[in-house]
Amino acid sequence: MQRIGVFVCHCGTNIAGTVDVAEIVEMAKPEPGVVHAAEYPYMCSEAGQNMIINAVKEHNLSGVVICSCSPRMHEATFRKAAEKAGLNPYMVEIANIREHCSWIHKDKAEATQKALTLTRAAIAKVQLNSPLFPDESPVTKRALVIGGGIAGIQTALDIADAGFEVDIVESTPSIGGKMAQLDKTFPTLDCAACILTPKMVDASAHENITLYTYSQVDKVEGFVGDFTVTIRKKARSVDFEKCTGCGACSEKCPSKKSPSEFDQGLCTRPAIYTPFAQAVPNVPVIDREACLKFKTGKCGLCETVCAPKAINFEQEDELVERKYGAVVMATGYEPVSLDKFGEYSYDSSPDVITSLEFERLTNAAGPTGGALTRLSDKRKPKSVTFIQCVGSRDVTQRGKAYCSKICCMYTAKHAMLIKEKYPDIEVNIFYIDVRTPGKAFDEFYRRAEDEYGVRYIKGQVGKVIDNGDHLQIQAVDMLDNKKMELQTDMVVLATAIEPVESAKSIATMLTASIDTNNFMTEAHPKLRPVESPTAGVFLSGVCQGPKDIPETVAQAGAAAAKVIGLLVKDKLMSNPCTAKPDELYCNGCSVCENVCPYGAISYEDCEVNDHGVREVRRVAQVNKALCQGCGACAVTCPSGAMDLQGFSNRQIQAEVDAICR
């Protein structure tokens, strides 16, 4: 039996005006376990708190019930007071007799009766309270960023600048991501490389940042503050330490027929290559699928021409195990495959290209040196037609139901880039809706039409017909309800974007959840948008949802702030109101594991002592660092083995019983 003290607050007249406080005190006294009851005008005041502290000491109280305002108001205050008195803070319960009683009822007798019931419920609950202690866990002061695009680079720079070590794992040979492939950026039209490459160099030069390029995450273990990650450094076949980045190997490589990933396959690259001139690090890799030495055993020309002897055909994948306190997902996106969109003739006509291909085509460092030419006959087009929403806002099997968000703006940008370089080229854009929320975005889009004479036509295209020397667009102008058979020379498809495929398996390793479109789920869609529901895992960039560069950079900074907030702590204190299994009752069914949104429950073989019988059973284990205390598992457990501390089955039932008495 607890020794309970009941403290009733008048809250001036807020409570005492409607509730007979003295009667509550009197009626509380005979309740089981109650050894002391008192009232005070303002319990939350320093005097009121001291009254509680003194009473705890004087009456040797083991539990405290405060009848006052909402616990959302002062629960923390009273818990601190109890702690000062030497009581475990979780031995305090609040009966909310203000917001839930005195403020909404006018009849004093009725309000007093209700306040008494609420007080009894709190007393009944505190009877069953037991001291709870937050767990402490250490924090490894290093962060892992998965993905080396602008999102990953920005997050890493911000964390590193705050003084913490950061590792970036990037699957391709260079950091830079999609932004490195872009020509200009909207709405300012500044060159992507000019603003990105300094950041890439900063990242590689930063003393707190380690780059793992051409690498992938193989395994993740542990939890917030204490992740252990295995990174696979794929064999580059080039010695990092010796290579000077002179490029002689790529130049001499006889196998130059592989499609260039960086140039979206619009041109080829050698088997030993750096993806682009400003690559960071500037160390090539050998594509073993394409390399003659690996395929036939003959060649080795690169080895011959490499003065510093950096080529190493024997190099193998290397596994590195590192510890981290936090992990940031910055895995980015890919344009969707257009295999199923045959009506646009992307696969059958070289002059139908995606927007990302257009970026390379219009880029001065791209395969045509920035000259806009048809891929089929190298002719300069007289007319270019853009088609928006290709695969976006499409609820059928072949598309994505969401809006890809960036296409309206980059299409306007593409149109202006053409008009700027070649005012004589006719530009038409087929759109369903033009969506331009964002600072200076709508003005930008309007400029395309107003100043550059780009023609916007409302209506989705039915079919693109390749007639050899030109393409024919079959569409309807929805605003004047007229069929259009437009002749054009080049078609650019604003292709929907989707998260990179590997995001799914990485999310699984991190026990972080993804939505039906494979975007990472936020801990809260409005209030915790850069955190994953899994503690210690943060989200940066398009892996969480479509966004443009400014938004990505903002989110990258926000994710960094959250990471820094975590890493500055020496120890993590967890909410002690977590789930707790009773090993004896657990039947190993795994149902709780399936409902847990945080991946906090796992099953382990444990030796249990069941009434003297010792045996090894597969039982549920809760990781307190991950459990957030929702209670889903406690309700779902068929054997009653799982319970929630602070809101246990018995405590809630005691409240129900007290109310129904």
């Binding site: 199923k340 969109f341 045959g342 009506e343 003739s345 696969d347 059958s348 099997q397 079919k463 017909i465 390749d466 007639n467 050899g468």
Partner: protein, 264 residues
């Protein structure tokens, strides 16, 4: 392999070439077509209304007949294939329709219940998936070398692709693969999956001619010398418009010719 064979109305009359050559070639390629007994006309168009019941019964009866024998049901005519395939899918997916159809059938002399168990195949699918185009190519005696053939798919074999599951609805290749197998050169043209006008040619002759004309022009511009089709109505509409400049023939005629078994 023995298949149930559903010829359909036109293959017994105007499209005898399609039918006769298909049977001959089946023999030569080692499979047998057993005509469904007492089959009824499928109606030539799929009854799209969700409340259409009686109009779907002829298809159900044919499907059941094949299923009872444990055979897949093979069609040649695009329209028959379309109707049979879609009604079969309805019988699988639409519980309401299934109940109503089976209530009708329960009144018949030999009642049964049918739940879409049959497997509906087009003759081309048999060639592709059962015989195999490589195997077919090996059996060709008179390769049609140098012939530039445009495949005319039309609409009914391909769409809606979620039900028909025949080929990529926008970029189909099955006919082209067939053309290669018989040693000819396929001419790919963008309009090969556009509609010839279908039944509209009965009353709206100008409309139909315009549609057929567009397809023919497109095929001619890509160098086609002849079109092949699986559909008697496509053949009629196409031939009517451009029979002299760009003839259209049934694919089974070329198949028989290539296998060296065509009866003149």
């Amino acid at each position: 392999m023995v298949y149930s064979y559903y010829p359909g109305c036109t293959l017994k009359t105007k499209a005898k070439e399609l039918d006769k050559n298909a049977r001959l070639c089946a023999q030569a390629l080692g499979f047998t077509l057993e005509e469904v007994e007492a089959w009824q006309c499928c109606g030539a168009v799929y009854p799209m209304g969700t409340d259409e019941i009686a109009t779907k019964l002829p298809a159900v009866r044919a499907l059941h007949a094949a299923d009872e024998k444990g055979q897949s049901i093979v069609t040649l005519c695009s329209a028959c294939h379309h109707v049979l395939k879609r009604v079969n899918e309805d019988m699988r997916q639409d519980k309401d329709l299934r109940t109503k159809v089976n209530n009708y059938i329960a009144q018949e002399e030999e009642p049964y219940t049918y739940n879409g168990e049959a497997n509906v195949l087009h003759y081309l699918e048999v060639l592709r998936d059962q015989v195999g185009f490589d195997n077919l190519a090996a059996k060709v005696k008179n390769p049609l070398a140098g012939r530039k053939i445009g495949a005319y798919y039309g609409c009914m074999l391909l769409r809606p692709s979620s039900v028909m599951q025949f080929d990529d609805p926008e970029n189909p290749t099955i006919f082209e693969d067939f053309i290669k197998a018989i040693g000819a050169e396929p001419v790919v043209y963008p309009y090969r999956n556009e509609c010839c006008g279908g039944y509209i040619s009965l009353k709206e002759k100008e409309m139909a001619e315009e549609m057929a004309g567009k397809i023919a022009d497109n095929a001619l511009s890509k160098g086609a010398e002849v079109l092949i089709t699986a559909c008697p109505l496509c053949l009629y509409n196409m031939d009517k418009k451009t029979g002299e400049t760009l003839p259209t023939v049934y694919f089974t005629e070329f198949l028989a010719e290539a296998l060296g078994i065509k009866e003149e």
